[in-house]
Symmetry: D2
Subunit: 330 residues, 4 copies
Amino acid sequence: MNIGIIGIGRIGKIHLQNCLTHFRKVKVLGAMNPSQSGRDYAAQMGVPLVTEDATELTSHPDIDAILVCSATDSHAAYVEQAAKAGKALFCEKPLDLSLDRVRQTLALVSDCDVPLMLAFNQRFDPSFAEAKQRIASGDLGRIRSLRLISRDPGPPPIAYIQRSGGMLMDMTIHDFDMARHQLDSEVVEVYAQGANMVSEDIKAAGDIDFASVVLTFANGAIATIENCRETSYGYDQRMEVFGSKGMIRVENPVKTSTLLSSSTGTLGGKNLDFFMDRYAESYRLELAAFFEALASGSPMPATGYDGLKAMEIAEAAMRSIAENRPVRLG
Amino acid sequence: MNIGIIGIGRIGKIHLQNCLTHFRKVKVLGAMNPSQSGRDYAAQMGVPLVTEDATELTSHPDIDAILVCSATDSHAAYVEQAAKAGKALFCEKPLDLSLDRVRQTLALVSDCDVPLMLAFNQRFDPSFAEAKQRIASGDLGRIRSLRLISRDPGPPPIAYIQRSGGMLMDMTIHDFDMARHQLDSEVVEVYAQGANMVSEDIKAAGDIDFASVVLTFANGAIATIENCRETSYGYDQRMEVFGSKGMIRVENPVKTSTLLSSSTGTLGGKNLDFFMDRYAESYRLELAAFFEALASGSPMPATGYDGLKAMEIAEAAMRSIAENRPVRLG
Amino acid sequence: MNIGIIGIGRIGKIHLQNCLTHFRKVKVLGAMNPSQSGRDYAAQMGVPLVTEDATELTSHPDIDAILVCSATDSHAAYVEQAAKAGKALFCEKPLDLSLDRVRQTLALVSDCDVPLMLAFNQRFDPSFAEAKQRIASGDLGRIRSLRLISRDPGPPPIAYIQRSGGMLMDMTIHDFDMARHQLDSEVVEVYAQGANMVSEDIKAAGDIDFASVVLTFANGAIATIENCRETSYGYDQRMEVFGSKGMIRVENPVKTSTLLSSSTGTLGGKNLDFFMDRYAESYRLELAAFFEALASGSPMPATGYDGLKAMEIAEAAMRSIAENRPVRLG
Amino acid sequence: MNIGIIGIGRIGKIHLQNCLTHFRKVKVLGAMNPSQSGRDYAAQMGVPLVTEDATELTSHPDIDAILVCSATDSHAAYVEQAAKAGKALFCEKPLDLSLDRVRQTLALVSDCDVPLMLAFNQRFDPSFAEAKQRIASGDLGRIRSLRLISRDPGPPPIAYIQRSGGMLMDMTIHDFDMARHQLDSEVVEVYAQGANMVSEDIKAAGDIDFASVVLTFANGAIATIENCRETSYGYDQRMEVFGSKGMIRVENPVKTSTLLSSSTGTLGGKNLDFFMDRYAESYRLELAAFFEALASGSPMPATGYDGLKAMEIAEAAMRSIAENRPVRLG
């Protein structure tokens, strides 16, 4: 299989490295990046065709699939361009910040009849995947509740917050997707509280930095999500799913597997500092899943529709905060 | 110090044993129980005055304090009787299922100017007490959120549910108290969801068996509580408090400290099956705290007012479920 | 069943309390103690016959069993006196510091045909008992190795060390018994190293304060034991048993089940400070096992022979240290 | 810095990948491999000079350092050849199976005055490195004991065992090095027991498959090592270091950070299956340490002398087993 990568930034580099070291049957034929440094990187890694023009990749006859790893506001346009050219697609999330544009692009992708995977990478983390497998197999019985905590080590730059769509749209959205994914059911009602607990600057930018959300699912399960832009102890992302036959928790991996005992107790390893360390393996596994789905012709394990549903939940949550009441979906 | 115990049932026996083996300066002068078996137990443990008439204890000139451990619907009457006789009081919770009666009894206790401790025993559990101490000392910084999970191994008899006031009043009430206690702040708004996930019989009895509650506190912290009447894995009671400087969790103690490694992973100890095992130490420590407060004349570490506030939150939560909206308190 | 207790010191008080609160079908008819304070304690707990003359207990027609909890150097004499009177016996360990005297006393007990349980209480700890059950049931397959660590929070008084028989005889002896008990096999060879790492005073008293021992068992398993008289982090007693089908570890229980996360990592609970906290439950369970064995007429779950074998291993270990070579037993 | 790699087998590939993705200032100018498949791999990864003749690398004027990753029996010859050419050296362990040859090669390297790092990769694992740092900084006080457990998931092929020098030389040797490294002291006495617990074929090949070793160090610390060729629960490598001020343990990392609670207890993640998963990060970090030492001119963090000392301990341990007695070193 031959691929082209649009966007050789932080995440594009990771996908490129993974292709080289882990997917040696996949050939990266081309890489596009608007700035020189990204193109230099690709060239040094041995990519034959390096360009600043995405059309060279989307129109390349030998390229089977395109990985869209560019800035968020260009995702939809590149996806549409590649879809029209009949290429299979792997796109970083979100497809776009506008629900209308997302719906429009998905319609076009559907018309072009090309496969599209939306990169909800956390689904592929081995721990979250194990939880999903336990739930799907019935090991936990009927699911009663799901609890997600996602707390970042520190807030992103204000510039990012101003164009991210806000915390519910850029951060909680992963949890909305994870809850839907784990429970295999749709949200029917959302109640959300937002607060400013971390930063005056975020407040001034019109966003919240803490959220507490309750989701009611069609299958009767009740999910709670807590998000915060800052912790004093590193990256904190955990999940708990409680069913009639058992409970599974996903705990935080730690930097080292050491235990230091002293008179104050026993000190275990530090949390990781960064989501890219926490999810290094999931980036590799989501790509593996994409290549497998392409090869076998089976459905993509995370779709544009999934991205759309998560955004709809985020919108309902924003309305719930604004109006201080539970909001029905659909 | 000389005490009398009204009610030698399950909990009265525990207090009696603890007095004998751990508080040897405290003399149990008398014990009242309506049925013979409780009186036999007290006699066998060497209690000098065993009776079926509570007046013999409340009017006894050598008795300094009365422990009220009788059936819930008799708490208020015995408390009033002993308060009028000028005895210090330790009373199992709740004081009464009616908020009006609770207010009335507390007014009388106040008029009589006798100390009254309400037995919120979980406050005295060493793990929860350590969390409280960390919070109060500022180790966790400004508290952002508190999360409580309480899941019982199995539902109580329907007969109990019918006269308990319902899950929010008999079970969640411990979490309402714990949240207030840990955060040292009052609840200003409640949002609750109730569901029937466990038992058709409980539904038929008009009660819920699962609850998910969000509490907003005056100090800005947001608490979530999840309760369920049943688990497949034993008694499950945990707490997590997240602040600007750190996070503390109270995990479940387990039956044994063994770890069994095999090809399926490493299996750790089972949860306890019963709250009386989980809280054995807290029963002893709450009594120690009562005796210490009496001896030193310092305020009681859990009061009738605490019981009243927890009931007010429970009432608001019931209204929130009925009306599917957040409910303001006060 | 009626019993008498000889010696109401630290351990005698625990057995007395356990009889009162947990074994209410067992009546403590009499208690003997040389000093007044122990007798006062027994009287206050409601023991009818309190005396300074052990004969009053051993000759009492209504007493079925005697618990010997007196000072070590009087164990053998009281056991012999009670055995001659036909009483069942529960004796704190060791029976005596002299192997000859132990053999002599055991011969007499055998002649008198009375049951004798030697109080190796650690066997009854639920965690160690679970390990034993796993091994005996074959869950771990063929056992390859066993590893025991026992480290005390601090050294005992020098006066104790001077008459205890030394670290291998007073401390490691528990591990020798535990290894035999878990593996259900006899030691054939011992290699031991002793060192002075903790205290100059212990060295001056002619004892070691650190030991590392390797035991070869008849069934082929190899055990290692490490002992130290001092830690900076509380009481530390752990075991690991490794077999062809799995491994089981007994870890330390901790004071609280809290986890405190901060930038330095996640801090778990402190170790206990004292073996009497660690083994509180095992004291109750060993007594339960004694009463059950008496009632059912089944063999005692820890015998005088077990005490003898552990002492023989301790003697071989002392010779190994003295001669710096492995020593064969038997 | 420009390097050449001799041997593109399992481990050579890992070093090559790490150079490409993590050490982008290091250029891999050349790669030598006797068989075609290894050369194809190197070519595909973009190595400019791919050859079956090591001299093309050792004599290449632009190559600063050589990584020797070939079969063990060729290590010494390639090291000597590159040393004579003045190249800095990184060599997989062992340098040779013969102590004489090792001494001879080290003498030549010393004469040529080139830096040589011997690849004891486990030293660079973040958990073991944290332990070392704690010990070196004095956090644990004076070290009393060190305990190492290394158990492989399954035995290597008999063909490997026949030419590996035996378990003590191919497996325990890592623990000998780790003990010396952590304690920063030399072994003065060794006592070892060997046994056949796993495989009749290994016994027939004249090797043991289980070892229990006690090491006495010049600084007074006592170390124990347990090795086994097989477990039922994955790769098991742990360490515990006990000092006067604290204790540190290195536990096994696990595949997933999930906890599954059911009536049988709480099941945590599985052990890894393979040392190359367990030590993936240490392979990268050892290479980083080599490049840093070269760049700064500081001493190599693991040397040929370290390899020699570990082999001397292994030899003494073999003698100890053969003669069933402790053996002095030096």
